[in-house]
């Protein structure tokens, strides 16, 4: 089935519904969604704004809504998402739109810090390098979440984020869970405190869209479940330990 022309609808402007534009884009054998957007910008409308950098699924900057599903556009082949020969591309959900397909990622990264997704070190450069045992359960658990590229696909997929602007979101909470299991991180108390408050891990309804759409096949829903268990355990142990 060789297609000559793709019917590409792009949502533009903060009021996306009112500003849809259609473009005819030549179809190629090998073409990602990002290639399609780039073709429009380079050949049809140079004013189209969008964001990308690495084009190989490492930088996490090119995520967009493609036919209602958040995806990393640089690693999504167009044939996988075409509806006939049509595709609709919009800015990521749950984030303020700056222009066209570029969203403001600040709320996403601010919540990353709010969830204590930062390094809590206790050693100085004068201390010897602490050995890390790769075989412990904690290390294996931490390893399952460290390939996050901060693309915000999970954040865009989550209905709880849509409904509650205080909710920290899947990526930030998964980062907190990773650090909680990291032998090099000393921030246990502050992490548990940050994720057990309003908008923390207990806000999650386990809808699972984060896990269903994570382009790197990570499992933020299970990471958040881990935080739920850990915060509950620390709540019941308070006073005894």
């Amino acid at each position: 089935m060789a297609l000559d022309v793709l019917k590409v609808t792009i949502e533009r402007g903060p009021d996306a519904a009112a500003a849809q534009q259609s473009f005819d884009v030549p179809a190629y054998e090998n073409q990602t969604v990002l290639d399609v957007v780039s073709w429009v910008q380079q050949n049809a409308d140079p004013t189209l704004s969008y964001r990308f950098a690495c084009r190989v699924g490492m930088c996490g900057s090119c995520a967009m809504m493609v036919n209602g599903v958040p995806r990393w556009t640089c690693r999504t082949h167009i044939s996988k998402v075409l509806d006939g020969n049509a595709v609709t591309i919009g800015p990521l959900r749950n984030l303020p739109v700056i222009k066209d397909l570029a969203v403001d990622m600040d709320p996403f990264f601010d919540k990353w810090v709010e969830a204590e997704g930062v390094h809590h070190g206790a050693l100085t450069r004068d201390d010897p390098i602490a050995p890390v045992d790769e075989t412990t359960v904690e290390r294996t658990t931490a390893n399952t979440g460290i390939e996050c590229i901060n693309c915000s696909v999970c954040y865009a997929a989550c209905d709880t984020v849509t409904a509650n602007k205080d909710y920290l979101g899947p990526a930030a909470l998964q980062r907190a869970w990773t650090l909680l299991n990291d032998a090099k991180d000393e921030g246990r108390a502050s992490i548990l405190d940050a994720v057990s408050g309003k908008g923390g891990c207990h806000t999650c309804h386990s809808m699972g869209s984060c896990t269903a759409y994570c382009p790197n096949d990570l499992d933020p829903m299970s990471a958040i479940a881990g935080l739920k268990r850990e915060t509950a355990r620390s709540f019941f142990r308070r006073g005894r330990s």
Partner: protein, 117 residues
């Protein structure tokens, strides 16, 4: 509008299990007050209760009872699923095996139960 606001991104088993659990819970919450109200008739107005119980002989009510049993089943297994999902630190394959074993033993138990009645 289709790209950003469509519901396409919800069409996956995890989300469907979530919504089924919540909606069955809501429906049961609506049913419960009615249930207690009818039961209370046994004390306040026994004749009216008898009249109502005769109503339950009709096919429509019998059909509604199937719906009720469905809601209860869906909600109970939805709750068990949620608790296993959030409170058991097992791997996905361990949970799949556990669910498989539970389902098999449940089916066998139902078979024996059906033969007994």
């Amino acid at each position: 509008m289709k790209a950003a606001k469509g519901i396409t991104s919800r069409a996956h088993p995890l989300w469907l299990a979530y919504i089924l659990h919540r909606l069955s819970g809501l429906a049961l919450a609506v049913f419960l007050p009615l249930h207690f109200w009818v039961l209370a008739m046994a004390v306040t107005d026994p004749e009216r209760l008898d009249g109502f119980l005769r109503l339950t002989e009709s096919g429509v009510v019998k059909l509604a009872e199937f719906g009720l049993v469905f809601l209860l089943t869906v909600h109970m297994f939805g709750g068990l699923r949620l608790m296993a999902l959030e409170w058991l630190p097992w791997s996905a394959s361990q949970k799949t095996l556990a669910v498989g074993a539970t389902t098999a033993s449940f089916l066998i138990a139902v078979l024996f139960f059906m033969r007994a009645i």
